[in-house]
């Protein structure tokens, strides 16, 4: 007799162990070797302890933000794929990341220079941009009929992506050379937060989104069969869709503001996880979040060691892995 509860628990625990292992080991590894005993010991004063500063100021925040961004994007990917009933959906499909990018570019172009609680203007502007995008897409999707039409949602998202991309091009055009360089670099993703304030700033949004994610899995399973069938099985479809849309978009907006629009995590990780353990969202959602965290940290580790002493942007590594994977996925499905 199958024991579903045990299966869920065991698989999730396995992924948790993997994620913890990666997060613990990653700050110890880098382009330079550091002495852990010195870093953690009390013998050397903080202001003299280079090993400690490398561990606690340079690497650990980087690993933590990588884990948060990876978990958020992977989980958002799972939720949006279920919501749109489309395995090719990504967290960026609905225009949230385009809104974030536009916010960031505008902040760069107008030389916005305000900071809040140790967070500079670009992440704040990019989060604001993502909220604008969420609002527009939701308003469009609910404008036609009572309820949330997932088709209109998808179309609105795709349209918004194109429109915002055009605006981004315009902003780039009126920017000067330095601003363009900054903007292009931001688009490649950067997890070197150099401190904990950005992480702390993004944490409330991420925790709120993950809080909602905890309630979604079985509903997402039921939505797979279609809105009518889900409703007939007892799901309040409109409410479920709203919660799924807002939580996934919030997670995406916060993740993009923290680390830039790092691509492919939101599609590679959900698919890998489904390949490993099936489609039951009660396992897939937590497993994807954990695997996404580990995956991103590993990609960032590669990015900062493979071409030492130079570092590559993490978005390039995820694209190098994700691009061919995505192609393979398309071929396999057809």
């Amino acid at each position: 007799m199958m024991n579903i509860r045990r299966r869920i628990a065991m698989v999730v625990l396995a992924f948790l162990a993997f994620a913890i292992a990666v997060i613990v080991v990653a700050p110890m590894v880098g382009s330079t070797s550091i002495s852990l005993s010195k870093a953690f010991g009390r013998s050397v004063d903080w202001n003299e302890n280079v090993d400690a500063q490398i561990f606690f100021v340079a690497r650990l925040p980087r690993v933590l933000s990588g884990a948060l961004v990876g978990a958020a994007l992977a989980a958002a990917g799972v939720v949006l794929q279920a919501l749109l009933r489309n395995p090719l959906a990504t967290p960026f499909t609905l225009g949230v990341s385009a809104g974030a990018a536009l916010g960031a570019m505008v902040a760069i172009a107008i030389g916005l220079d305000v900071g809040w609680f140790g967070v500079s203007s670009v992440p704040i502007a990019s989060f604001a941009g993502s909220l604008v995008a969420i609002g527009i897409v939701y308003a469009l999707a609910t404008s036609q009929r009572r309820g949330l039409s997932t088709n209109v949602l998808l179309l609105a998202g795709v349209t918004l992506n194109s429109f915002f991309s055009a605006l981004i091009l315009f902003v780039q055009y009126v920017s000067d050379f330095t601003q363009s360089v900054r903007a292009v670099r931001w688009l490649m993703g950067d997890l070197d937060v150099g401190g904990y304030s950005s992480i702390v700033a993004a944490l409330p949004m991420l925790l709120a989104a993950f809080g909602v994610f905890a309630f979604l899995p079985r509903t997402l399973n039921l939505l797979t069969l279609g809105e009518d069938v889900a409703a007939a099985r007892g799901v309040d479809v409109m409410s479920a869709q709203r919660w799924a849309f807002f939580s996934a978009s919030l997670a995406t907006g916060a993740a993009v503001s923290l680390g830039g629009p790092i691509g492919f995590i939101g599609i590679v990780v959900p698919h890998l996880v489904r390949l490993m353990i099936g489609s039951d969202h009660r396992i897939v959602l937590p497993a994807a979040a954990l695997f996404g965290a580990a995956f991103t940290v590993l990609c960032d580790l590669t990015a900062r060691t493979i071409m030492a002493p130079l570092e590559l942007p993490v978005g390039i590594i995820t694209a190098l892995i994700g691009g061919p994977f995505f192609l393979w996925l398309l071929v396999k499905r057809s």
């Binding site: 330079t32 500063q53 900071g115 150099g194």
Partner: protein, 289 residues
């Protein structure tokens, strides 16, 4: 006898006239009178060697000397306005080496171009001489170059033998944080200026004009001086404090510990033109007070 003398005289006179005419004509051909410059550094050079009156159009980013503000603008590196350039009927156009489309168009219109490529400190001086030749101000160009060389030599002499601080030369970063830090990577005119001013580029071994520095690499390389370059907007007062505050997180870095974080501002620092001597002197003042 008289007839031969007359012929010789006449021939000599004709030869003299022809020679004079040739000299006159070729002199007129080598001296462009309507110069359009897309490169701010080259504009500065033109004015510094006395070719200012010959300039009829400048780029959108030209700021110095102040007289250029009244001149028509023709775009810049990414967006040269070909129509505007042609409407000014130039006889010499100064372009960036990478603006191949523009160069092709000028060639079609039979307008000569001077194509400029970025280089080190020496290259700036070479370019000044080249422009001197092209515009007929060879003497002024040579004088300018000598002047710059003398000043730089004076700085070098002052700092010779002194210990060269390992310097992080910062071009840009996100305001108020340590993200997206771009620094000198051991090559280019700013690195040359740093070396002339008695400093050592902390990323010298990379050999690139610009690299992105991460918190980890800065901590490892531990620069003794941090020099942030801004073309304008000198931070002062509270803003300066908060900018310096961003670096305080990396307290093991000698530059932070010894409070040797400086801002050097002004276009002398960002335009590879005749004011480089100013830039070198300012850097030296900061590195070796």
């Amino acid at each position: 006898m008289a007839a031969r003398q007359t012929i010789v005289t006449r021939l000599t006179a004709v030869a003299f006239c022809v020679a004079a005419c040739t000299v006159f004509v070729s002199h007129a051909q080598t001296n462009p009178q309507r110069i359009v410059s897309l490169v701010p550094a080259l504009t500065e050079m033109l004015f510094a060697i006395g070719a200012g009156p010959q300039v009829v159009g400048v780029s959108s980013y030209d700021r110095y000397p102040p007289s250029v503000t009244s001149l028509p603008r023709v775009g810049a590196l990414l967006d040269p306005d070909t129509e505007r350039i042609l409407s000014l009927t130039p006889d010499l156009v100064l372009t960036y080496g990478s603006q191949v489309d523009l160069q092709t168009q000028m060639r079609r219109a039979s307008i000569p171009t001077f194509d400029y490529r970025h280089g080190g400190l020496d290259h700036i001086l070479v370019t000044i001489r080249q422009l001197g030749q092209r515009t007929g101000h060879i003497n002024e160009a040579n004088a300018l170059v000598s002047g710059i060389e003398t000043r730089i030599q004076a700085v070098k002499a002052r700092v010779v033998g002194k210990q060269r601080p390992r310097t992080l030369l910062v071009f840009s970063r996100e305001p108020k944080t340590l993200r997206n830090i771009y620094v000198s990577g051991g090559s280019g005119f700013l690195r040359d200026m740093l070396v002339a001013a008695g400093g050592e580029d902390v990323f010298e071994d990379i050999g690139r004009e610009s690299v992105q520095a991460t918190t980890e690499t800065i901590l490892i390389r531990a620069p003794e001086v941090i020099l942030e370059i801004r073309s304008e907007n000198i931070p002062a007062g509270a803003e300066l404090d908060s900018e310096l505050q961003s670096w305080s997180r990396l307290s093991t870095v000698p530059a932070v510990k010894n409070k040797r974080v400086y801002f050097v501002t002004g276009q002398q620092m960002t335009v590879p033109g005749p004011r480089v001597a100013d830039g070198v002197e300012r850097m030296a003042k900061v590195l070796h007070p």
